[in-house]
Structure formats: C-alpha cells, structure tokens
Amino acid sequence: MANHLKKQEKQKNIENLKIIEKFSEEDATVLQKIKSKEFEDKEVFDLKLRAEEAAKDSEIDELISYNLIKKKLAFNLPHQQEGALKILRDLDGRALLADEVGLGKTITAGMVLKECIVRGFIKRALILTPPSLVSQWKEELENKFNLNFNIIEKESEWEHAKLAIASIDKVKNFDVKTDKFKHAKAHEIYWDIVIIDEAHKLKDKKTYRWKFVDKLQKKRLLLLTATPFQNNLIELYNLLALLRRGHLGTLREFRENFMIDGNERRPLNPSELKRKLGEVMIRRRRGEIKGMNYMKRIPRIQSIELTAREKNAYDQIVNLLLSHYHDYKGDTISTVLAIHSILPKITSSSRASMEFLENLIANPKYSKPTQEYARLILNNFKTLEQDTKINALVDLVKEITDKDPKGKILIYTKHPATLKYISDILNKKNLKIVEFQGGLSADEKTKRIKEFSETAQIMISTDAGSEGLNFQFCSNLINYDLPWNPMSVEQRIGRLDRIGQKKNIKVYNLATKDTMEEHVVDLIINKMCCIGLIMGELPIILFNMGLDSSAKSGSIKFEEKLMQAFLESKNNLSRFASEVDKVGEEIKEGISDYEKTKKYTSEILD
C-alpha cells in the first residue's frame, strides 16, 4: 500500500514537469533525399558519428570552456573555476556570489557565462551593473571570454540584443504617467541568465530597482556582491527574495525566526541562517585563497612650482574660460561644458594648452574678442623660456631609474598632444620608450605591450585603449596629469595592481602648486585611491554613495561636484580648497560606512 502511494506520488510529481519534445524540421529534407535517391557513402556517416562523439559535452563536472579562455586569463585561480562549477552544478545557476572584493567575482561570473554558451544553454543573457562599470564589464567579457555583449541604451534595443549589458540605474527608470518601466521590453524577454553586479543595491523591496529585477523572467540568476547587507538583516531577506522567493519564509516568519527585537543587525539564530544562506550562496575570503598577494600603493605627490610667467599664462586661460568665452554671436558658451572639456586639457601640459588656443583662434564659431584674448595668451606661451612640469618629469624619471635601473615606468596622460610632447622630450634622454594610445590595431597593441615587457623601459599611455591590460611586471606609475574621475585613476593603477604584482606600487603624481590641480590630486590620490582599499572597492563606495552615475554634463556625479566647486569658487583657490575638503569629508564618511558594512557582513557570513 505504501509502495503504491509512493508510486502515485511519483507519477503526480512527474505530471507537473514541463517536457518540450520536438522533432527537427530538417527531417523532411532527409526523407526527400531518400525519395530522390540521393545517397552518400557509409564512411561519411561513420565520420559524422565520430565527430558527434568527439564534440559531445561531458557531464558538468568540469568546465569544458576553461581551455578556451585560460590563454586570456593572467592567472589560474582555482577558486574561480570551483565557484563557477558550483553555481552551475550544485546551485542550478541561481546563486548569491558573495566573495570578498578582489577575488574576481566578474571572472567567476564570466566563466559561468562562457560555459553555458559553449554548452549551448544560453541564447539570451543580461548583465545589469552600476553605470560606471558597464564598459568595464563589456571589455572584460570581450577581452577575456571572447563574448560580445551589446550595451543597451534605448528601449528599442532590447528586442535584438541576445547578449545585453545595461546600467541598472538607467533601466530601472519608471514612468509614473504610464505606470510602466521605461525599459519594460526587458520584461517581455525570457532570459537564460541574468547577472546583477553590486547586488547589495537591491536591498529595498520598495525601490524600482528591486522591482525591475524581480519582474525579469529568468532561468538563471547570479547576484554579485561582497556585502549582501549593510545595516539591516531585512536587506539580506530582500536580496534572497529575488533569488528564491520564500527561501527565508515570509517577512513575518523571518522576523520571528532570525531577528532579535530591537536589533536589526544581529541574527537570532546565526547558525541556522548561515545554513539557509549556504543553500544559495558562495562566499570565499581572501585569506583562504592561495596565491593572492596584495601589494601596497605608495603615493607621492610631486609639487611643481610654476615660474611667475607660467602662472600668469595659466591664470589667463582660466580667466578666458570663466569670463571671456563667447561664441561668434557674443553669447557666453556654457561654462560647465567648457570647464568639463577644456580645463583638464589646460592643466595637462603647455603643449595641450597651446593646441587648445590654436584651435580656438582658427575656429570661426568663437567671437573675435575671445579669439583676440586667446591669441594674446598663446603669444605669452610661446615666449616662455621653460616648462617646469616637463622638467619635473624628467627629474623624476631620472630619480626612479637611478634607484632601479631595470625598473619599468608607466606614464599616463589624458591627452594625445601631451603624450607626444613627453615622448619627444624623453626620447632626447636616450631612454627606450613605447607610446600607447587609442586607435592602434590589435596586432600593434600586442607588439607594443611585448616591447614594454621585454626591451623598453618606459611606456607613455593615454587612458583610451589601455583598458583591461596587465602590466603587473611594472611597479612605477606616473600620473603626468590626473583625471577628475577617481574611477579612471583606479583603472590606471589597476593596470599594475593585479594578481602577480610582486612589488609595492609607487604612484607618482605631478601637481602644479597653487592651482586647483593640487587639491584635486590630493583628494583623489591621498584620500581615495591610495588609502589601502583593495582594487574594486572604490567603485563600490562611489556606487553606494550614488556618485558614479552620469550627471547632466556627461561626466560622473563625483567629477561634476568638483567642477561645480571650481565654478562657484570663481578661481578663488582657498574657496575651492574648502569645497574639495567638503567632498573629501563626504568620501571619508562613505568609506567608513563601507568598512562598517564589511565588518557586519563578515560577522554574519564568515
């Protein structure tokens, strides 16, 4: 009787299972071939069987795609493969990947994607990331996994994107008038896999961000975050509700079973909560992983004192931008735009400043008085006897090479004009130099990287084109000029601060004394990029603070904050310095919140 009931139960179970059985439409062609007496040799069929057997997928107890990608991965870190395998085999592709920062969650997620694609499980995949990481994800997937993802900007682009990547901040926008998400098309698609980076931002069930993700139809879901909750255990509950609804019971049950009245952070039953989390979560700590060495970043700000005439030329350009920047009709050109696009150029080098002035003079869209003023400054530049900044660079390079004759140096600048200028000057010093910038072919890039790693001592590079490259054999970085976006600075340092780096990384920064540059460099280098954070933590902090999304000017909000401070200070340096200090305080608070969160997370999860 018991057996009979068991059999009945078994049958009932199978009834719920969805079985989709199809015969190929191509069969009709084969039948037609018989009718029209088209036959091939038996040997061809035997070869076909052998090809099927050779290419047949093995069971998922190994990553068959690993051989295809390992050439592109700088290091073989077994925990990344193990993680990918566990997600696919044991967690059925639905997991919270909560590895500590720096362990390569992106690589693990990329391995999951690649494996699924190679095995033919995935036709449509979606990655949602913070705005600042969209391009980085796209590049990593392209360079390391040979996967070409499309960035989604407009709603009309969803339909055709098989492999899509989008900024979560952009797609979560909700139109209250139509009562619909602006990117509602994403909800009509059945996704074979959805990956959410920095998923801790999905802590609140009431936000459109959470609701957007919840409405996605998805077969597999990966949530990536090193800190699944920040202040309240409910945040963890909400995150898991996306992954497996009801895994921790209803909210009331969760409160009863896992929360202590009046304490939102400490669980009532930590071991039980850990057990439940273990069913859906993978978390590894840096200390557990062999072969992960973290090197220190040692910052140095090289203060440059301009000559009186240089200072005067610099002030004149700032003055041009703030007070004499008019179009041919005499209207003031948007100052924010001017500051955003021109200021970094003029702080870069005298060559870049002169290039800017020459272009302005030759361009009829500017007013005559503006052009006249520009001509005056240009003439001043031309009569300068020396360039203190480039001289300081030459001295710095000499100092580094004297101390370590074999040590390699990577010099970064934002502007191709400055790159050329530095190259011209250093070439005269008998140093072996490689130039690296956007627009090089893949072969040319490979050639130059090889040259830098083998024979050249110095590489001068712009930010464009060097994304995703590994220069762990070099430990000296010179920022000739500095982007006002700390994420770009992180990416520069990130070329050197990689697994495999054997020395502490020296980050040299040239900053002109008594200009706003001095304060910005201090903020970004001394208070953000070189304070002991692990590679990858700063973007999380800025994301948490909402400072990484695009502002109206096109730059990120953090950068715009600095631009705004500059505008409001009206070239009054002490006012600007005090504004920058305020931003610094805000960042300090953000870092402190992040550290606290890490501590809480560790207390509960580890």
Binding site: L17, I19, D27, F45, E53, D92, C116, F121, G246
Partner: protein
C-alpha cells in the same frame, strides 16, 4: 562501428585528401573543401593543436578540445552530411514452394516470376536532452519493417547502388520510428525526469507555502485590525480626557487606513499573480527539453521475387491473375488480404464477381444469392 574518440585521428580523417603537415603533434591543413571554408567562415590553412601549451605558443592555432569552436564547427558541418546511405543485403535465394500457398476454390494453372527489391529503412536519430545545466545526448537506431521494429542481425551488408532501385517512400516507417523513439527516450530519461520532478516539487512547495502564508498573514492582520479598532472604540467611548481622545481617534483612523489597504481588491490578486509568475518561472527552469533530429536514414535493400499466378475457379471458368511477392529474407510470401473484408487470407478464393476473397466472404456472397 564504435566511434573512435581520438580527435587528431578524426581531424586527419576529416581533412583526408587535403594537403596536411603533421609536425610535433601540430597539424597544418593547407587546403580544405570550399564548402567547409564557407561554413566556418575562414579559409585554410588551419593550424590545429591538441593541447593548451601548444595553443599558447602558436599565435593563430586552433585548439581542438571539447567545446572549442573549431571542433563544434566540424560537428555542425557534419550534421548536414551523411544523412542518407544505401546498403545491400545479399541473401541466397531459395525458390519458395508455390504449393504452400493456401488455395480454396481455385487452382494455379500458370506461374510466372520476376525479380524486384524489398526495403528495410534504418533510422538513426540524434536526441539531445537538455535540463537545468546539463545535457544528455543519445543516438538511437531503429529499423522498421511492415510497421514493426526489426531487431535482428541482418548479416553482411555491402555498398548499395542507387541504380538498382526505383522511387522509395519511407514516410510511414519514419512515423512509426518516431513513436518508438519517443518510447525509448522516455525510458532513458526516466531517472532524469524523476530527479527534476523532485527538485521542482520542492520549489513549488516553497512558493505555494510562501504565498499561502502571505495570504494567511494578511487575513490575520485584518482580524487583528478589526479587534484593535473595536478595543480602541470602546476606550474612546469612556475616555474623559481630550488629549487621550485625540490619540485614540488618530489610532483608530490609522488602523482603518491599514484595513482599507489590506482589504483592497487588488491585494490578494496581486499576490496570486505573483505566485503564478514564480510558479511558471520554476516550471520553465526545471523543464526538460528534448530535441530529436534524423542523423541518417540507411536504406537496406535486398532482392525479392514477384510471382504472377494464373488462377482458375474450380466452380466456374473464371480466371484470375494474382501477383504475390516472396520475401527471401523472411522466407515467406507477403500476406494477402481479402478484397472484401480486408482480413488476412489463409486460403485464396475467387468470388463470382472475380475478386480474391476469404472463405467467409465467399460463403456470405453465396447466401445472398
């Protein structure tokens, strides 16, 4: 034939006829069939390596391992090849005994014979079963003869010649083979289906419990609100203090607002809709997808003999010509059916209208007379 699993040998076989250099385990294929070049979208030469270290050293090499693009492309290319083959079964022909044919009301007065061919189509299906993050692949061979599975040793088969045979239609056999294939795959995936079902039921139970409890909690909260309102209203009636009355009034209003929200038409419906969404998500997640495709039809043919019998009725002068096929493989005549009732014939009878009928139909026709 058992397929070999040596990828290098497979490559040598695949590019047979091409100019191939084999040096230190690296195969350089200098030329390849144009159809393959078009298929893969890259012209020869191809440098094929079979281990990662060599792949790492040779910049433009193709790594031939499971999952690699090149190997998968060869498999996909081959899927369009070798779809139909023809083989001949050579059987020693032994003359049948014509006397063994059961005769009723007639006798054979003349026999003529002519040679022809019988066919046994052998279908090879590739079935790919995909579920969760796993895939199982099966190759099944099914031979169909007279609507039934033929599972026996056919002896030595030789290369066939298309000129031997006329037009052949195997659609009915294909339909029968499909039904058999589905049974076979169902049997082979029994364990998979069972395991998937167990997992699915667990997930469905979780979702149902969650939403069941959500609805229950919401009902309980309605109850609690009602009780609280009742209590507060009673208090309100008996309070003497303005300040307390104000507080109680505000509390009653708040509970009423909450009640309205909980009793809102949409609340339960929204939960039910959400439940359905998640249930469907799980059903899709744990679905088993089975894709069958015909990898090959191997048409087996062998000689048969058709006898033309001239039959004379024993009751009249009526003469009937009948063709009957002898199958030397099964050593039997192909069965005849009654032209009236379609039943298989044991004995041949000629009706008054000159048709071939069974004894029963013959006697019925006599009765009517």
């Amino acid at each position: 034939m058992q397929p070999k699993n040596n990828t290098k040998e497979l490559m040598l076989e695949f590019f047979k006829g091409s100019n191939i250099e084999d040096k230190n385990g690296v195969l350089t294929i200098n030329n390849a069939p144009k159809s393959f070049e078009d298929f893969i979208g890259k012209k020869a030469p191809y440098v094929l390596v079979f281990d990662f270290d060599k792949h790492n050293k040779l910049a433009d090499s193709e790594l031939i391992v499971k999952g690699s693009y090149f190997l998968s492309a060869i498999r996909d290319y081959m899927r369009t090849k070798g779809q139909t083959t023809l083989v001949k079964m050579n059987i020693k022909f032994e003359e049948p005994k014509i006397q063994s044919i059961g005769l009723g009301n007639c006798k054979i007065i003349e026999v003529n014979k002519k040679e022809g061919y019988s066919f046994i189509p052998e279908f090879t299906f590739l079935s790919i079963c995909q579920y969760l993050n796993d895939k199982k692949q099966f190759m099944n061979k099914i031979r169909i003869k007279d609507g039934n599975i033929l599972d026996m040793n056919l002896g030595k088969l030789t290369r066939g010649d298309a000129a031997d045979i006329g037009e052949v239609e195997v659609f009915n056999e294909y339909k029968a083979a499909k039904i058999k294939l589905q049974e076979m795959i169902s049997e082979k995936t029994k364990e998979i289906r069972y395991n998937l079902s167990i997992k699915l039921e667990k997930e469905l139970k979780r979702i149902k419990e969650y939403y069941g409890n959500q609805i229950k909690e919401s009902d309980e909260e309605v109850e609690r609100c009602l009780e609280k309102i009742k209590l507060l209203e009673a208090k309100f009636k008996h309070t003497y203090f303005d300040r307390e009355a104000l507080i109680l009034k505000r509390m009653i209003r708040e509970y009423n607002d909450r009640l309205v929200k909980l009793k809102e038409q949409g609340h339960k419906e929204r939960l039910k809709k959400e439940e359905l969404f998640h249930v469907n998500d799980e059903l899709d997640k744990y679905a088993l997808s089975v894709n069958h495709s015909l990898a090959n039809i191997n048409l087996i043919y062998y000689k048969n003999c058709t006898y033309t019998l001239k039959l004379k009725s024993s009751k009249s002068d009526s003469i009937k010509i009948l063709e009957i096929v002898y199958d030397p493989f099964f050593k039997k005549f192909e069965p005849l059916t009654c032209s009236s009732c379609n039943e298989l014939l044991n004995k041949i009878n000629i009706s008054s209208t000159g048709k071939i009928v069974c004894a029963k139909c013959l006697s019925n026709s006599k009765g009517k007379k």
